[in-house]
């Protein structure tokens, strides 16, 4: 809890140093309803204290329940401590909420054991709050905040069918975790999901032959749809086994050396549009489209020097909200 004696600037400066409790308190505040004002001052504060703050790589990890995602993450953490001694990572793990009570049991921490008082890995659970798409309404903002402090931000979601799409929209790279011969292949082909992740993990490859046959099966499935994949080349497939401690070093190596970033402006636009659709439905979308077509909105994205200007989510949200309010008053 943020107690009244602490100022935001104190919290932010401690959080930027990697202190866990201040980070945790800020996240709770982000996870609170009607948080626009808080987010505005938070990101303003970060900008003023550390204008060149990090912009961590975001890694989405999704897959069906039982694919062993958390164990895999646990093992990644263990190796991370050895292999990346000067880097820091955060994990946001999302578990489903109960339909009845709204409560949830968040058990993903179970698999991640950290040395005592270590600040290089930060783990945060999040209930899905019954949102479709596997992400919680605040996840995106939490990730944006964590990117400022950590070199790597992992998001783990339980994905069934279409849910994988949501996580890939907020990640620089997203992995789909499958089990060997899980029957997933056909399912995913049907749902068109194979086009979304940038990489695949066949986990639980405890047995060589089973692992290999699954590998080739997936490879041939992907070859089918190569033409419609983003860069029309085959995405990497990793074979991992937590119990045999195999393939995870390679996976970590791949992540640590991944240099591509997705267009953050596109990400902001997508998330904003999604929020508007959730919050204001078709009515909101109509206004948004009007707004988007206006030249002043285009202008913020092109800086004077001709390069791409980074959009600021809170500014755009505010702009939109005031427009909505005007529209509502106008309608009345």
């Amino acid at each position: 809890m943020i107690d009244s004696t602490e100022t935001l600037s104190e919290l932010v400066s401690e959080a930027l140093l990697g202190e866990k409790f201040p980070i945790a308190k800020i996240i709770s505040k982000i996870e609170t309803e009607n948080n626009l004002e808080f987010r505005e001052s938070l990101f303003r504060e970060i900008q003023s204290q550390k204008p060149n703050a990090k912009d961590g790589l975001t890694i989405g990890i999704t897959g069906t329940p039982g694919a062993g995602k958390s164990s895999l993450l646990g093992e990644l953490c263990r190796l991370f401590l050895d292999f990346a001694p000067d880097k820091k990572m955060a994990i946001v793990a999302i578990d489903p909420s109960s339909n009845v009570s709204g409560g949830s049991i968040l058990g993903d921490r179970t698999r991640v054991t950290l040395p005592r008082r270590d600040t290089r890995i930060y783990f945060r659970s999040q209930p899905s709050q019954l949102e479709l798409g596997g992400l919680n309404p605040y996840t995106y903002h939490v990730i944006r905040f964590l990117r400022k402090i950590f070199d790597y931000v992992f998001i783990e979601t339980v994905g069934i069918g279409q849910n994988e799409i949501s996580v890939s929209l907020v990640s620089d790279i997203s992995f789909l975790v499958m089990q060997p011969l899980g029957g997933d292949q056909v399912q995913f082909m049907k749902s068109g999901i194979m086009e979304v992740p940038e990489a695949f993990i066949i986990n639980k490859c405890d047995e060589e032959s089973l692992a290999n046959s699954s590998f080739y099966m997936l490879q041939s499935t992907l070859e089918f749809i190569k033409d419609i994949l983003s860069d029309q080349s085959l995405p990497p497939i990793f074979k991992t086994s937590v119990t045999k401690r195999k393939g995870i070093e390679e996976l970590l190596h791949y992540i640590l050396h991944y240099s591509k970033r997705k267009d953050k402006n596109a990400e902001t636009m997508t998330q904003l549009r999604q929020w508007i659709r959730n919050e204001y439905g078709r009515f909101g979308m109509r206004i948004w489209e009007k707004l988007e077509s206006k030249s002043w909105n285009q202008a913020v994205r092109l800086s004077l020097s001709g390069g791409i200007h980074k959009m600021d989510y809170e500014t755009e949200e505010k702009k939109f909200v005031s427009l909505i309010q005007k529209q509502v008053i106008h309608d009345e």
Partner: protein, 672 residues
């Protein structure tokens, strides 16, 4: 003797009355340190106890030496600490092991403890063929109920098979494992679940032995004959007796049909019993004496399914460890039953009873379906790894508790006839309970330090290297373990060597998808408060449910986790064997509103202190509540440390607990 008497009395070949020999009388005992336990055993044997049942402390069970930091609060608490052969020398001082029937309640480290026993016998010049007894060694129930596992299921099973192979050739009278459904009932198993999970486990063990293919057909039959069971007898004694008869019949069928065992004596269902402790109440504990008697009847009345060995809990076990006098009282009950009554003079007195036959048949049918389900899944190991068995048990347990809550299940003195005169048994100067002297650990530690200082360090190191190498190569580990024992290797070193090769297991928690059947008005009240909290704070209340220390009885924690979710909390629950540091780290990272601890091993004071130290490190003022077997005499000290509320088995109403917790955090200052 006239001829017609033979029909209803047990007689010898001359027609003379010849009652059965009584079962083996044991008391499950061990505490403080090897020396104190040795004295206790010798006293118990002199009182007419006929076998030993050794309780080990949690560090020994989990494979840590007493000088490991996680051991400190637990040394000598729930059993005797054993660090090296030196402790076994002290433990069995003046006890002739060649004449004993020794049962060791040990699982993850059972190969190690058996190795120590073998090393001791060889040192004393006792031929191994004379050793008689059992290492419990049922890992499946550890994953499900009790929590003292170390390695993953497949590796644990490999160790068990190693022991069968070694014992059959070297210690033929030893039971290398016993399939233990006792703890399943403690964890809430129904009779059908007890039957099916135990038999499925036995099948898993025998299938693994068969797969190794290390025995001739004759030897394999002998192996089947060495499988023994350790079961629980509950209060519904007619049903429990039928359960025992069903066990016998089903084991006969399985050994004949699945394993083709031709020799009749190897198909006999051999079992020992400890009667149920779960049903013992903290309220009016003197009533437990009657419960224990009735439960003992279920496994002794019926000759066809009479236990081989029996150990009874003490009347005050729901309060704390029993005192020597309490154990003596339990032993006397067995002696009265066996020697004063006429119980042992008759053949099976239920033969031909339609009620019993019908009930047995019904139990068998249901259990068979369940076993088939598990086998279809791939067997007991798979049903552990995918969480199936665990979730079934948590479900049964929550159903049982909700029945107590709604008074559908009557428990005298707990939810009915609760007013009464306080028991004079509790008014002794020790308050009727036993406490381990906190200084007694020093003796254990000094024996350990002394043994380490005295041993040949090179030899100890080499024997550990050999053990690791053998594990990597998949060899039978018994000879290497015995070599370690002789080289004065410690429990922690032995377990660590294998941890390096096998890794440590982290099982599913069993909390997923559970529903509670709680009365609506109470739930509505709590949910109302949760909604109010959510409105005031802008987010749901968040609780970290922590299970610190080595005590693996996670059901309480899991039920709290499930009820909290049911009330609308966001719950962080990460399973067992956490350090206070890890729990605080979770609470800090998650910015939890409250920490709930569950501790049943008696280490609450030590653990609470570590927890508050760690909270201070983070300058985190998160309220802490605690639940478990906590004597009232400790309340004041815990509250002084900062514990906000204490729940004991008396507080079985889950929604009242949640109500108190939401009240505590609702008055905390809101987020700014």
């Amino acid at each position: 003797m006239s001829a017609e008497k033979k029909d209803y009395l047990l007689v010898d070949e001359n027609g003379q009355g010849k009652p059965d020999k009584p079962w083996i009388f044991r008391t499950y005992a061990g505490h403080t340190n090897a020396k104190a336990s040795n004295e206790l055993y010798r006293k118990n044997l002199s009182k007419g106890q006929t076998g030993l049942s050794i309780a080990f402390d949690l560090p020994t069970q989990c494979g840590y030496s007493s000088d490991h930091e996680v051991s400190r609060p637990e040394i000598g608490k729930v059993g005797v600490p054993i660090n090296s052969l030196e402790d076994f020398r002290i433990l069995f001082d003046q006890i002739p092991i060649e004449e004993m029937n020794t049962s060791m309640t040990i699982n993850g480290t059972s190969m190690w403890l058996l190795s120590l026993y073998v090393a001791l016998a060889e040192e004393r010049g006792v031929p191994l063929e004379k050793l008689n007894g059992t290492t419990q060694n049922d890992l499946i129930k550890e994953y499900l109920a009790r929590g003292t596992y170390i390695y993953p299921p497949k590796d644990s099973m490999k160790i068990i098979v190693d022991m069968y192979e070694y014992c059959l050739h070297n210690i033929p009278k030893w039971n290398p494992s016993n399939i233990c459904s006792y703890h399943l009932q403690e964890a809430g198993a129904t009779p059908v679940q007890e039957l099916s999970f135990a038999l499925a486990t036995a099948i898993a063990v025998l299938d693994a032995i068969k797969e190794r293919n290390c025995f001739t057909a004759d030897e394999f039959e002998q192996c089947v004959g060495r499988i023994s069971f350790f079961v629980n007898a509950g209060i519904r004694f007619v049903e429990e007796m039928c359960k025992m008869r069903a066990f016998s019949e089903m084991w006969e069928e399985i050994t004949t049909e699945r394993y083709n065992v031709k020799t009749a004596k190897y198909r006999v269902f051999r079992y020992g019993v400890q009667v149920n402790s779960l049903g013992l109440t903290e309220e009016q504990p003197e009533n437990n004496a009657w419960r224990i008697l009735i439960e003992a009847l279920g496994v002794t009345l019926s000759r066809k399914a009479r236990c081989r060995a029996l150990q009874l809990p003490a009347w005050n076990e729901a309060l704390s460890l029993p005192r020597p006098w309490d154990q003596q009282w339990s032993l006397r009950l067995q002696q009265v039953l066996a020697y004063e009554t006429d119980l042992l003079e008759y053949p099976d007195i239920f033969e031909g009873s339609k009620v019993i036959e019908g009930k047995v048949k019904a139990l068998k049918e249901e259990a068979k379906l369940e076993i088939q389900k598990i086998l279809d899944m791939g067997g007991a190991l798979v049903a552990i790894e995918n969480g199936y068995m665990k979730s079934q048990l948590v479900k049964s347990q929550t159903e049982r508790l909700s029945k107590i809550n709604s008074n559908e299940l009557v428990i005298v003195g707990k939810n009915k006839w609760t007013d009464g005169i306080k028991s004079p048994l509790m008014t002794d100067s020790d308050g009727g309970i036993f406490k381990v002297d906190p200084k007694s650990a020093e003796q254990t530690l000094s024996v350990l330090a002394e043994a380490k200082g005295r041993r040949n360090a090179e030899l100890a190191k080499k024997s550990l290297e050999d053990l690791k190498q053998a594990a990597k190569e998949g060899k039978n580990l018994m000879p290497y373990s015995i070599a370690c024992a002789k080289a004065l290797v410690t429990t922690g070193e032995w377990a660590d060597a294998l941890r390096e090769v096998y890794g440590e297991y982290n099982p599913p928690t069993g909390v997923d998808g559970q529903k509670l059947f709680l009365s609506d008005d109470k739930v509505a009240t709590v949910r109302g408060k949760v909604e109010a909290f959510t409105k005031a704070h802008g987010h749901r209340p968040k609780i970290v449910v922590g299970k610190p220390g080595l005590d693996g009885h996670s059901n309480g924690a899991e039920m709290i986790a499930v009820s909290a979710k049911h009330s609308g909390f966001d719950v962080i629950y990460s399973g067992i064997r956490l350090s206070p540091e890890e729990i605080v780290q979770s609470a800090v990272e998650e910015n939890a509103n409250v920490i709930g601890l569950s501790i049943l091993s008696g280490s609450h004071k030590e653990i609470a202190k570590q927890l508050f130290d760690e909270l201070a490190h983070y300058k985190a003022k998160i309220p802490v509540v605690i639940g478990g077997i906590i004597p009232e005499s400790d309340f004041e000290e815990l509250k002084k440390m900062g514990i906000r509320e204490i729940f004991t088995p008396k507080d079985y109403d889950l929604m009242s607990i949640m109500n108190k917790i939401i009240d505590i955090i609702s008055v905390e200052p809101a987020l700014v």
